[in-house]
Symmetry: C2
Subunit: 566 residues, 2 copies
């Protein structure tokens, strides 16, 4: 696609996935990493790679000779050499060495963000003495975070100072490191947003995700984050603003804290593909890896190319860490392969306890479904894979409720139609007047249980459809059931004459058939198979009438009537 | 994932994509192909590959020495050597050499399918003489197909005998080939189904797709095929039955003809990944390449792992063929990269006119949207990529119609609500009684135009909502508009009291607000953003009442009433 050759400093799994994306676009890559079989080198047999460390000036120079563009899969590189090489050769480097320099020093990174008004936890540089740390404790109170400014990743270089008595231990753990202290952020969730910046400085934010850390390593990612829409948008914008403040193109991972009062703080930034963005391979229009390759080579980056594949896409990413027993982690991978909607990515590494060996992406149309699959993969449930195959389809999509069992003869026609159209449904009794609390719980829980549409039948005062509609955001279809007096007009008016703000889709008196047919039409806008079935139903209905018409025309009306009466 | 090493005979793009899938699962592959930089070899730097032809017995033996399992990316291999090697070493070969032997001889393949009652076009073996061909013409009539039994692919080895005068030319083109003749199949569409068979013989069919050939090369694939559900299912089952008749595991491509009377014929089978299955990389739960790797290594193959990613997934695959100008085909690739929902796969080949250089997968929630993107990529429209970014979202989802402009004051409330909820909508006048033909066209076209829900307002006899509902499978919401007499009860009864079979979701008299709110709830089941917005609307409504309640409680009812009157 592009004749420019991309040199990558670092050849781990992030480099490997960059190479995979580059291979698909015929973009040539060269890897700088020690060893012939680094994960990234394994899948590129075309180039002559460089054997050496990404901190070795001679090796960096050797890489630069073979490439037109340099990039990184790790920030702890020798930025001075990168600057010098750029000056000597004019080679493009993305992100810029200046950006890498700021970001790889976490304290400088924080200072930079503050300068650009990006909210971060309060922090200050601190000397490695007990007195200095005690003074921080007085200022920030306990607990507070003590962090190494440099060479810190996956939690290495962080220490929680629980109280004054921990100070000596903290100094012992982080001895000979340049330190800074950070006020404790009592976050309720950790969020992350991948952001990609084009050469021209355009900013594209991926969706906001939620990360679950375990032993300071990103363990599980929920995409999108299980927070409000507004908060997700706020995090995307904040992450975008943070990255707009740096120079150079490429992908960045922005980690954030969500505080109990709703405030967002940027925790730290990675100037490269990031573990929290692995879900993008399966759940987004374009993966973080392809986005990075496009950004640094100047390939097109259309609006929306960082969106979830569909508005309904939900995903969970689970890291595969080396088990205590060699290859023990493969048991989990095999479980993932044994259900659909889970993809396994292994990095070609030798197994070692705790090592990032791969990851698993689960993608589905609901987070509940993703979570069920996650539980199976982690061995937390023995729910058989065959029940997972059916996925959310096995759950009821339509719920048929009625105020009294005396409504069942009328409402059963709806059930028959739903059966005919193979719509998964449930049927029960919920009375507005006799079980008001059950009704409230039912209405509130219905959307969470995956119900997409409610059919409610009621007679007389007929409050059930309207009351349920008032307590759920789902479409509610009301069936007026005819009573002994007033011919059902009482129920009809009670159901249809709802106040502005709370609609009930009302059908004819006693006509629960039409309620079910309406539900099928509604489901059709989310699953076209129902629209196709409805078209067939309508055309069969037409054929049925035409057959009758022919019979009436050919046999005469008297003959027809005689049979009709039978 | 699996410690077995897979040897692949052939190292073109199909091998390359198999290697990519194997890399992700840490499954080791070794390639047999001439040249050091065959596409498949380019992305596997771990193995020592074999340099040689997949028809060379010595090279096949060399490959077998390094592997535990052998497979193919092309059927024209030396099956006798494969059988011998299997006998000598006990190596697993998938699909079995016996299967490859039958399939690579197209006439033997047809005989085999007939033996298993799989419908195929009538055919017979024929000698390479003018007299024999003329005799076929008498039996089959003209045109008929003359085909080489062996070494035929991408249309090479096929000749259409238009009439008797073409016989000499046919013999000239297909000279020194073993021939057979086939009765002409006047197909209306070409269909294809990828089928994967496990080691245990289980069969999994991918969706039925439609292929468009150009110069005998698969050019465009529509997934799923634009035919009825029933016909798609029938093709899947027929393809599955065809593959169940062969031995050995792996992926197979089954090409079929759809005849004008709805009959399906199997045209031919490829015992390997197939061009018509490239869409699976982006549109299915598991790609055809990973499915093949799983099948031959005995990895898990859960039910439904060959399904489309979601019931709404639609895809188009476009082959990227070498342009007349070197790299001219990259212009098309660049256009694909400049819009979202299109992914580019290049095969690392040197450009040559007509050569398969790569492919583009377009995935979206509707075929109409895929087709718009395809037109842009092929340069058939200059519709700007930025309008494509917005995708189907920019089209109206809800249509507001009314029988007369006098209904607009009532119906405008619905428009206001739709605007507030940012629902793309359209509004127009359609009268059942005064513009019956316009109404019919409107109702039939609405689903094709991407409308998901119709709001119809009418007064008096109020036939519009019911008539539209009778002619569309979409959900129709009816708003009874109050006239000068009868208080709107006439319209209410006319709209709500529909006969069984044709539902109209009726709301209160003049309450078009509720009609729009119902439409938003309905859209919510296909796009959760609307459900979230509805929840917010309901909670705001609650807050609004609570504020009023507090005002009433604190100020007293007289004070409140005084202000209320103002």
């Amino acid at each position: 696609m592009d004749s420019k050759v991309v040199g990558i400093l670092g050849g781990g799994q992030l480099g490997r996935m960059l190479v995979e994306a580059a291979n698909r676009l015929n973009v040539k890559t060269v890897i700088l990493e020690s060893g012939k079989l680094a994960p990234a080198k394994q899948i590129n047999a075309v180039s002559e790679h460089v054997d050496g460390s990404f901190t070795d000036p001679a090796a960096i120079r050797e890489l630069a000779k073979r490439c037109d563009i340099l990039t990184v899969e790790i920030e702890h590189v020798d930025t001075d050499t990168l600057k010098a090489v750029r000056k000597e050769t004019g080679i493009q480097i993305h992100p810029s060495p200046e950006t890498l320099e700021i970001i790889k020093d976490k304290y400088a990174q924080k200072q930079h963000l503050m300068k650009y008004n990006i909210p971060v936890a309060e922090c200050l540089s601190v000397e490695s003495t007990a007195a200095a740390l005690a003074k921080v404790g007085e200022k920030f109170d306990y607990p507070y975070m003590l962090k190494s400014k440099t060479e810190a990743y996956d939690g290495r270089g962080n220490y929680v100072v629980e109280d004054k008595s921990c100070i000596m231990k903290a100094l012992e753990v982080l001895h000979d490191r340049p330190l800074y202290a950070e006020r404790w952020a009592p976050f309720t969730k950790e969020l992350a947003v991948m952001v990609v910046r084009s050469v021209k400085g355009e900013i594209f934010s991926y969706p906001t995700v939620e990360t679950i850390q375990q032993n300071n390593i990103c363990h599980i990612v929920y995409a999108p984050a299980r927070i409000s829409d507004t908060k997700r948008a706020e995090a995307q914008i904040m992450a975008g603003n943070a990255i707009a403040s740096f120079s150079g193109a490429g992908i960045f991972g922005v980690e954030m804290f969500l505080l109990p009062d709703g405030q967002l703080l940027v925790n730290e930034i990675a100037p490269r593909p990031h573990n929290s963005g692995h879900y993008t391979i399966d759940a987004c229009v374009t993966s973080q890896f392809e986005a990075h390759i496009r950004a640094i080579t100047g390939l097109p980056m259309p609006k929306n190319f960082t969106c979830l594949s569909t508005p309904n896409t939900h995903a969970i990413m689970l890291n595969v860490l080396g088990a205590d027993k060699p290859n023990g982690e493969l048991i989990m991978c095999r479980r993932a392969l044994s259900i659909p909607n889970a993809s396994v990515y292994l990095y070609g590494k030798t197994t070692r306890p705790g090592r990032k060996m791969g990851h698993i992406n689960i993608v589905s149309e609901s987070m509940v479904d993703c979570e069920r699959r996650l539980a199976y993969i982690r061995g937390e449930t023995e729910e058989s894979p065959s029940s997972l195959d059916i996925g959310i389809e096995s759950q009821a999509l339509v719920s048929v409720i009625m105020g009294s069992d005396s409504d069942l003869p009328v409402m059963s026609a709806a059930c028959n139609i739903l059966k005919d159209f193979q719509v998964p449904f449930e049927v029960t009794i919920v009375s507005a007047h006799r079980t008001p609390h059950r009704m409230a719980k039912y209405a509130i829980d219905a959307p969470k249980r995956g119900i997409r549409c409610i059919i409610a039948g009621a007679g007389g005062a007929a409050h059930l459809p309207g009351m349920v509609a008032a307590m759920t955001p789902l479409p509610v279809i009301g069936v007026p059931v005819k009573g002994h007096i007033l011919d059902g007009v009482d129920s009809l008016h009670s159901i249809v004459q709802m106040p502005r703000g709370v609609p009930v889709a009302t059908v004819a008196i006693n006509n629960s058939t039409n309620a079910a047919l309406l539900a099928v039409r509604i489901l059709g806008i989310f699953d076209p198979q129902y629209t196709i079935a409805m078209e067939k139903y309508q055309s069969d209905m037409e054929d049925g009438v035409l057959v009758k018409a022919e019979k009436l025309e050919s046999g005469g009306y008297e003959e027809y009537l005689a049979h009709y009466k039978r």
